[in-house]
Every structure is written in structure tokens, then in C-alpha cells.
Symmetry: C2
């Protein structure tokens, strides 16, 4: 079994050393660096090239864990990042994932599970507590629910709205659908009424459920 090299970015001294001891004390794991702030982490981690970096969210100085991941991931796409934090808010979770974190686990996770998660993320998995996973899943389900107001539109109106969303001028829509501009106007007017909006951008935003 190969040894997984790990870097730790965590401002709390006690937690940091505890994790370092855990990792260095476990077969198959080696802690190659610890950092208490984002700036030095971004500077030094490219020299260490750990397999996995554990990231806290809050860090002293201007850089938080998210930004730290984003910068390192951009230069080292193969490096695996795992958030290790106390936060369960949707915003922070999604930001971390977008920034390039592959795993997201809470600090209350047991040492054994932490080690397992490190191995998991190194082997191509995405360990996350099932509460975190539920947030992520909820995101998909939210995405999926189309605005019920759209159901009130006729199929022609949906077609027009789709054209609107693509930024076509009325004259272009008219030409695309082989109808007159006046008819386009009419449809648009009806669409706005049904969606309770007064502008194209608002209509498109409803179309995309924002």
C-alpha cells in the first residue's frame, strides 16, 4: 500500500498538531507539512506536492480556505483537497466544491473516519458526511423544479420565451418562427402577464428559475 502524503492548513494549533500526530501515527499516511494561514500554504504546498490537502475554512489573514483551494487547484489539478470544517451552510459547501474541493467533512468526524476519508479522496472518491451530501442532493432537486408559473404558458408561448432567453430581437424571433413582429409582441405581452414580470430579463430569470 502506498503512503499518502498529507498537508494540513488549519489555524488552531491544538487541532493542527492533533491531526498531524494522528496522520503521522497511522500506517500508510505521512504529514508532509502544516500551515496556520493561507498565504504560506499557497506558497509552500507547491513545493511539497502532497497527495491530499486538508483545509480549514477560517484562516487568519486575507485568504480563507476556499480561496486557498481555488489557487492551488488551478496550478495542481491532480492534488486532492478536502474541507475539514465546522460549517454546514449551503453557501460554504457549494463554494468549496466549486473551488475544487473533492471532499467535505465536519470536524466532529472521528479520527478513524478522517483517515478513511483521506484515503477515499486520494483514491478518487468524494467523502462527505451524509448531511453534507443531502445538501448537495437538495441542490439538484431545487434545480429540477421548474417554475410552476411556466406551466401556465402555452407551447407557443414557451417557444417565444425560449427565443427571448436566447437574446433574439423581436424581428429575429418573428423571422425565426415565420410570424409577424406584432404577433411576437402579442405573445411576449401574454407571457409577461402570466409570469407577472415587466421586462425580458425578468422573464428570462423566471425561465431559468432564478
Amino acid at each position: 500500500m502506498d503512503i499518502i502524503s498529507v498537508a494540513i492548513v488549519e489555524d488552531n494549533h491544538d487541532i493542527r498538531t492533533a491531526m498531524e500526530l494522528l496522520i503521522n501515527g497511522s500506517d500508510g499516511y505521512a504529514c508532509v507539512g502544516t500551515f496556520n494561514n493561507g498565504e504560506t500554504a499557497v506558497e509552500q504546498i507547491p513545493n511539497l506536492l502532497p497527495n491530499v490537502a486538508l483545509m480549514d475554512f477560517n484562516l487568519p489573514g486575507g485568504m480563507n480556505g476556499i480561496e486557498c483551494i481555488a489557487r492551488l487547484k488551478a496550478e495542481h489539478p491532480d492534488m486532492q483537497f478536502m474541507m475539514l470544517t465546522v460549517y454546514e451552510d449551503d453557501d460554504k459547501i457549494f463554494q468549496a466544491l466549486e473551488a475544487g474541493a473533492s471532499g467535505y467533512i465536519l470536524k466532529k468526524t472521528s479520527p478513524g473516519e478522517l483517515l478513511e476519508a483521506i484515503r477515499d479522496v486520494h483514491e478518487g472518491g468524494s467523502p462527505m458526511s451524509s448531511q453534507i451530501a443531502r445538501r448537495v442532493v437538495a441542490y439538484f432537486q431545487k434545480q429540477a423544479k421548474p417554475n410552476p408559473a411556466l406551466e401556465a404558458l402555452t407551447s407557443r408561448e414557451k417557444e417565444i420565451l425560449d427565443q427571448l432567453s436566447k437574446g433574439f430581437l423581436y424581428k429575429e424571433i418573428a423571422s425565426n418562427l415565420y410570424i409577424s413582429i406584432e404577433t411576437v409582441r402579442r405573445h411576449v405581452h401574454n407571457i409577461y402577464e402570466k409570469l407577472h414580470v415587466r421586462s425580458r430579463t425578468d422573464a428570462v430569470n423566471k425561465y431559468y428559475n432564478r
Copy 2:
């Protein structure tokens, strides 16, 4: 500990009875119904009201597991659905999650883990194998790639574009940002030039990376 009632929708007879035996043979779990096709499942499950429904993907007849979930979830939002399948394709995973599945595990999962996953999904988690989770995470990272053209915008221009995307009139943007309409117009003009678009909607589409 409360007993978790489970329904199984699975066309393979051997797998179905094996799962039924597993569930009924374990403390804290009860299998209240098994179905070998989607139609009867959709018809009967509302009478059984199980806590958790396990769903296979492929089912005989016109209805697959995804559609089955979508229909039942619409009527019973509190019921928990878990896909139990052999498929690992992105499409099927995302479709299942959008339809309302909260968990997604593979059939190769061990009996012990399956029971654990059933409890997990019942308690508000979203159990999924970490390979599945990685697919989901990759979706976020893909989503995150901002249009590089946006980088050319100054911070003020991004601010204006954000206002544009929310559908504000020029006069409203001017008032929101404490500048004159003329300045708004100038910024918008520069934004359009940089993004190579000629309308608000096109600019907003680029902003949202479509």
C-alpha cells in the same frame, strides 16, 4: 429505536427476495411491500406509505425507476427514495437525484452497508458511494468555470453586469450605484464591447455562462 418500513421495487426475483429477507431479518427494519414493476409500485406504495423505498433503474413495462420516483415523490415529499442500481453514468445519477432520490448506492454494496444506508436516508442523510459522490462534485466544478471573457471586465463593470442580470433599469442601476444614467450607459457599452454582444440578454447569458 423506531422500525423503518421499507418498500422494494426491483424486477429481478432473486435480488428482490434476498433484499426482503435481509430487511425483515434485521432488527429495526421491516419490508412492507415488494414490487416487480413501476406501475403497481406507483399504485400501491401510496397505500403502504413506507419510510423508505428502494428503487431499481430498469423495470419491465413503460415506467423506469426514475419516473416511478418522480411520481411518488410529487405526492409524498416526505418519503425517502434510494436508487439501488448497477449504473454509474452521470446521466442516470443526475436524473435520479432530480427526480427526488436522496440516496444512490450500487448493488455491489454489502448487506451491512445497505442497511446502514437505509437508516441514513431515513434520518435525513444522503448515502452514496464516494464514486457517485465524486460525479456529483464534478458537476459543481464544471458549473464553476466562469466565462474567461468576464475576466476582462473591471470590477465596476462586473458590478454593472450583475445589476443588468437582475433586470434593473438603467435608472435603477444609476440610483443603486449612485452614478448617473449616462455613466451606466457608458459602462454597459463597454461591457457589450468586451463580451462581443449587442443586447442585455446576451450579456446576461454570458454572465451565467450559457
